[in-house]
Amino acid sequence: MSTAETAAAAAPAETDTVGHGDISVGVSGAGASGDGAASATRITPGNALRPEDIALAVSRGAAKPSDDVAEFALRVGDDALILAQRLGHWISRAPELEEDIALGNIALDQLGHARSFLSYAGGLDGRSEDDLAYFRREHEFRSAELFEQPNGDFAVTIARQFVVSYYQFELYRRLTSSTDATLAGIAAKAVKEVDYHRDHSAQWVLRLAQGTDESREKMIHGFKVIWPYVDELFRDDELTGRLSEAGAAPQPSSLREDFDRLTGEVLAEAELEVPHVQPAPGGGRRGLHSEHLGYLLAEMQVLAREYPGASW
């Protein structure tokens, strides 16, 4: 297989000057937007905003979210956390060593974003990222249902990742100009990483859709399984209305046009259609989850809850 291509996706060349054009697949929007000088892989530790920095700022009172911003940070933090938990399962099980590394990388990026957002959200009432991750119950999680959908086969995972990364890219891109400086800072780091995730998933959509008959069938099936959960991502509610008015976060519905256009370009090149499926009502933002989340949390939280109060 095209080992070099997948390896390149996992480890972008150091010599890029514009985005990461060395692995461009000719899809506009996929990896074409990054600022090369600000590549996520080349941020020096001194400049990168780490979850620990946010936790420190919060504990010193240097950063404190409003009620609304904290609730919003829980939403995006939970999205990333639940996805990281799903993706982590692929490590040591991927179709190729290069994908063990690539999916592991994406999981790590998502986990990093989750830790930052959750550390910030916890600033409201003094809870840590771990308090929020390990000691909340299912109905207290605010992730959209898409993120908890099972990995399925590789095509389902790629379909989910494709939707997630194009959604997150549009969201984070807008959050970089949030009136909330911490949200803007986290998003500025995250958007560069998510840009790579878009490229990775777009490349796989093309490969699977245009590889063999079997892979095409599986890719079509993957999108069919995932697409019912797309609409929830773009639904506005009272919270997003207030945040949008305050300039802290965009209305989810305002991301839809760019999402549709950019994913549409990749799908068109892959000769795929948007699946004709009915949208699920969703409810994750209000703590109403699909049946899958409980098992995921049970596994994730088991050890921490066995030893409450312990330090690791």
Binding site: S92, L97, Y134, L303
Partner: protein
């Protein structure tokens, strides 16, 4: 002496030189051997395109591919705890560590490929049970403390083994080891830190740490291979500048390192016979159960079947993906060729 003018002899006969006769081949072998001997005498490096003795090639291919397989199978016991890591920071560190191991596997397979065997073939040998990997990974990672013990002891033993390999006479292997060792030393530190945290935690946590150290101690010591008087290949490997120190030498050195560090951890090693021999100036340890070592090596360890099945399952489940990627790449290059011929 003639050795001043000796030059590398290419591993493959050059078509331009019309080396067809047996006599030519014999001359090439003699020239190649002379250059090889000089490299060994000067403790310098053999590169993939150089002529090398078939047994040297075979030994390296076996050792490097086994090393690569160990990295890949070694991902499993730790991947077992990614989903349950007790804090998000530990989860991130563990994910990064297991990911590093996939990376080590890749460097090593690439180094082995320079000796003429494709990765697919090596993988197939692993899945068919024809190739070996480090026995240690056939033990189960039962508790979170095992993440600490594996990092501290298993990666610690690996470092003790691998640092001298950075000077291995085969260039690609030595260079791969430089990078691998750098990452391994992070891995060892994170393992030590996990144990330290547990040891300073609740009594239950400390017990969990001690229990893990007890279980991993002997298997970690056996990672250095059988005792010197039962290690038939060691002598030749040392003559070829692949191996620099004997199994027992490395093992004893490692025991000494652990003895210092275990004090800081506030834990103990499950071996009452450890002592520093003032006469030999070497550390000594109690007897190890080599029967168990040979049993596990022969496939009768606690997790041998599970580890191989998991590798086979991942490989089989991924077959359609690899086929798709290959088919897509071929279609793309055909399109490209058509475009070029039309232009």
């Amino acid at each position: 002496m003639a050795s001043q003018t000796l030059q590398s002899v290419p591993a493959e006969p050059s078509p331009a030189r019309h080396e067809q006769s047996l006599e030519d081949a014999a001359r090439r072998d003699a020239e190649g051997q002379a250059y090889f001997d000089k490299v060994m005498a000067e403790d310098s490096r053999i590169e993939p395109r150089d002529w090398m003795p078939p047994a040297y090639r075979k030994t390296l291919l076996r050792q490097i591919s086994q090393h690569a397989h160990s990295e890949i199978i070694g991902m499993q016991p730790e991947a077992n705890w990614i989903s349950r890591a007790p804090s998000l920071k530990r989860k991130a560190i563990l994910m990064a560590k297991v990911q590093d191991e996939a990376g080590h596997g890749l460097y090593l397979y690439s180094a082995a490929e320079t000796l003429g065997q494709p990765r697919d073939a090596m993988m197939q040998d692993l899945m068919d049970g024809k190739a070996k990997y480090s026995s240690i990974f056939n033990y189960p990672a039962r508790t979170w403390a095992d993440m600490g013990a594996i990092g501290w002891m298993v990666d610690g033993a690996a470092i003790a083994n691998q640092v001298p390999l950075c000077r291995a006479s085969f260039g690609p292997y030595g260079r791969a080891m430089v990078r691998v060792c750098k990452e391994e030393s992070f891995h060892q530190r994170q393992g030590f830190e996990i144990l330290l945290e547990l040891s300073n935690g609740t009594p239950e946590q400390k017990q969990m740490a001690q229990d893990a150290v007890n279980r991993w101690y002997a298997p970690a010591l056996m990672m250095f291979g059988p005792p010197d008087d039962d290690s038939p290949n060691s002598k030749q490997s040392m003559a070829w500048n692949i191996k620099r120190f004997s199994n027992d030498e490395l093992r004893n050195r490692f025991v000494g390192m652990m003895m210092e560090q275990v004090k800081v951890l506030g834990l103990t090693l499950p071996d009452k016979d450890i002592r520093f021999n003032e006469e030999t100036k070497k550390w000594e340890h109690g007897p190890l159960d080599w029967d168990e070592f040979h049993e596990v090596l022969a496939g009768r360890g606690p997790c041998n079947a599970q580890r191989l099945e998991r590798r086979r399952e991942a490989h089989q489940n991924g077959a359609w993906v690899r086929e798709a990627a290959a088919a897509y790449a071929e279609k793309q290059s055909r399109k490209q060729a058509e475009k070029e011929s039309a232009a």
